[in-house]
């Protein structure tokens, strides 16, 4: 049998960090200067900041629930949470990918600038708040005030969206398959054109979901708040 390459060997036997035996600090120190390409985190038990600040192309599997800011500011890393994630998962992500197999709490993907965040379950309030280029695909629903002040990137919601969707939105594009509570200030429904069907298809593919893009509605900015005037109370 041919010898395995290092990457192949790593993929088969990730380096294990058992948080019953070691600390988040030790885990993150290793992930910031990785000596392997694949890691597994056991007994996370809701610890905060798991895998925050990764900046290499490594794979990290969290076997259980993560606390706040899991994979915060991720760059290049591929992180999978085999459980649910707390507040601010993948906040300010630059690139790479984060997948949450369960649900996510508030502010998932907040201010993210790149990469792909997939939440297989549902996400709470403020999903994609202030997003700046990240792509977020949510298998279930999102809570109120999602995509608040969303600047760029795409948010795909396969279930329903709560009230105040896309309030004060800039140039992000929002796709929702189910119902939308209310739309936030300056957020409007827009026609789903061919290019949107195409990009939605790619995003659903990347997330591993097989909904038909045509089932979604698109929302974006009416661009009515781009210049402060005295005509509305939002100056």
């Amino acid at each position: 049998m041919a010898a395995l390459s290092r990457a192949e060997a790593d993929a088969r036997s990730p380096v294990v960090f058992d948080l019953h035996e070691t600390t988040v600090r030790a885990l993150n120190a290793e992930l910031h200067a990785p000596t392997a390409t694949s890691y597994e985190v056991l007994h996370p038990q809701g610890a905060h900041s798991l895998g925050a600040g990764i900046h290499d192309e490594i794979d990290v599997a969290v076997r259980g629930h993560a606390g706040y800011f899991c994979a915060g500011m991720n760059k290049l890393g591929r992180v999978v949470v085999d459980g649910s994630a707390g507040n601010g998962v993948a906040e300010n992500m630059m690139s790479g990918s984060v997948r949450v197999r369960g649900d996510a709490s508030q502010s998932a993907g907040a201010t993210g600038r790149g990469g792909l965040l997939v939440i297989e379950g549902s996400a709470s309030m403020r999903c994609g708040i202030s997003m700046k280029g990240i792509d977020i695909v949510v298998g279930g629903s999102v809570g109120p005030m999602s995509a608040f002040m969303a600047q760029a990137g795409r948010l795909v919601v396969c279930g329903d969206a709560g009230d105040g969707l896309g309030d004060s939105i800039y140039e992000a594009r929002l796709y929702v398959r189910g119902s939308v509570g209310t739309l936030g200030a300056d957020c409007v429904e827009k026609p789903l054109r061919d290019e949107h069907v195409a990009e939605l298809g790619e995003l659903l593919d990347a997330a591993g979901l097989d909904h038909r893009p045509e089932e979604f509605r698109r929302f974006g900015s009416a661009r009515g708040l781009y210049h402060f005037t005295g005509d509305h109370g939002s100056y």
């Binding site: 910031h32 900041s49 925050a52 600040g53 915060g72 601010g88 300010n92 630059m94 600047q151």
Partner: protein, 440 residues
């Protein structure tokens, strides 16, 4: 025509000329005034305090000769790489976007020349300022414009901004005329639109969450960098206690006089408390928690002279930060541009339209021609000179009080000229032992 006052006409104290002009402007345009600078009204300030020099009961140090140190260590509570500054005067956060790249570079050069820090702002870190700033504090603001983990790692300290003295509870504004292509790209926004920065952080709410957020920042930067928390002065006693509880290494308190690049006038003049009232509250909070001097206190809002620096430190600050004064040192409101200020409807000494982007001095603008007027090397030299003068003045006063380090100045070295200042600064009214609110 004769001066109206000479003709016996009386101006209303309630409806003074600026008030009349503001009403006329509102009636004409239907929009309120947005401007830069800080509060312009008179509020109790450091001028209302006096320093008690040594005489019989205290022993002064010889000016120029005897040692009076000025260095300060910031952030040694948790960070493995605290900052060591040579002087206790730092440059406050002012964004690229609000300021030209030349101005940011000049501030970095000036600060570095005298061994102090400068700070980014609401718009991210530019290569110019990182390159020219020996010690650079990187702000994490609600907008997160330009927030980049590589910049967190490249910074020397991180400042979590909850608010500013000019607008506690308010977000930022940058009007379209200042959103150049470069600014737009850094902020991920379309060029030319009026842009608002959020007033709440997007991924945490309240002090318990802030503790976790600070934990994340520490993890991302491997516990190396000091973490500051900046608040606008309002409920300072409680805010400082909560910031310490959330894990701040350094607390920054910005008084209501603090400068801004663009804020509603009504906000600037009517929200927050003077820095004079905030410092004693902050110092008391730190003392009660047993962390005064361990969690350092930086204060700002209307610092102009070495006397202000000395008095702020005597009240309990470890260092101060300057914004407006640094811009003036760079050339803001310089009489050489008098005619241009007038053409803009203002005047040298009055100019506060930092939001407008047409600053003749090339400081608060993104216009390539105007900003080219500011030579970053010369500007840096002027800022360094000014910082040196502030430091020497503070040393002069500290020596007069017999202190071998400016940090050794204490409230006992101060008295107040007015009852208001005595009550706020919690030092006795001059010639008495009376601190209003603190018994006889």
């Amino acid at each position: 025509m004769k001066d109206p006052a000479e003709r016996g006409l009386r101006e209303s104290a309630t409806f003074d000329r600026a008030t009349i002009a503001a009403i006329q402007h509102a009636a004409r345009t239907g929009v309120y005034d947005i401007r830069g600078w800080g509060a312009k009204r008179a509020v109790p300030h450091f001028d209302d305090l006096l320093v008690l020099g040594a005489s019989m009961s205290r022993y002064p140090l010889e000016g120029y000769r005897e040692r009076c140190d000025t260095d300060v260590v910031l952030g040694d509570r948790h960070a493995t790489r605290p900052l060591h500054l040579d002087i206790p005067v730092t440059i406050a956060g002012m964004s690229f976007g609000a300021l030209s790249a030349q101005a940011k570079e000049a501030l970095g050069r000036g600060a570095s020349e005298v061994g102090t820090s400068t700070t980014t702002g609401d718009g991210g870190m530019t290569d110019e300022e990182r390159g020219e700033s020996k010690t650079l504090v990187y702000q994490l603001l609600p907008s997160r414009y330009g927030m980049n983990p590589d910049h967190l790692r490249a910074a020397d300290a991180i400042e979590v901004v909850l608010g500013q003295g000019a607008k506690p509870g308010g977000g930022g504004m940058l009007l379209g005329q200042k959103i150049s292509d470069r600014v737009a790209e850094m902020r991920t926004l379309p060029p030319g639109i009026d842009q608002r920065s959020a007033c709440r952080h997007p991924d945490w709410t309240g002090p318990d969450d802030l503790a976790i957020k600070i934990g994340e920042l520490r993890e991302i930067t491997d516990w190396e960098k000091p973490i500051y928390v900046k608040v606008g002065a309002t409920r300072t006693y409680y805010d400082v206690k909560l910031a310490v509880a959330a894990g701040a290494d350094v607390v920054v308190v910005d008084g209501m006089q603090g400068g801004t690049a663009a804020t509603q006038e009504v906000f600037i003049e009517h929200v927050g408390i003077p820095i004079l009232a905030a410092i004693p509250q902050a110092a008391l909070a730190l003392q009660e928690l047993g962390v005064h001097r361990k969690v350092q206190l930086i204060v700002s809002g209307g610092i102009r002279t070495g006397a202000d620096v000395a008095k702020a430190m005597a009240l309990g600050a470890d260092a101060v930060a300057i914004g407006t004064a640094a811009l003036i040192a760079l050339g803001d409101n310089d009489p050489q541009y008098a005619a241009e200020y007038e053409a803009l409807g203002s005047g040298a000494g009055y100019y506060d339209d930092f939001q407008d982007g047409r600053d003749p001095a090339g400081i608060t603008t993104q216009d390539p021609e105007l900003s080219a007027r500011l030579d970053p090397v010369e500007g840096g030299r002027r800022v360094a000179n000014y910082l040196r003068v502030l430091t020497m003045e503070a040393q002069t006063l500290a020596r007069a009080c017999g202190k071998g380090h400016v940090r050794h100045l204490e409230p006992e070295d101060l008295v107040a000229l007015t009852i208001e200042a005595a009550a706020m600064a919690r030092v006795p009214l001059a010639g008495t032992s009376w601190i209003p609110g603190h018994g006889l």
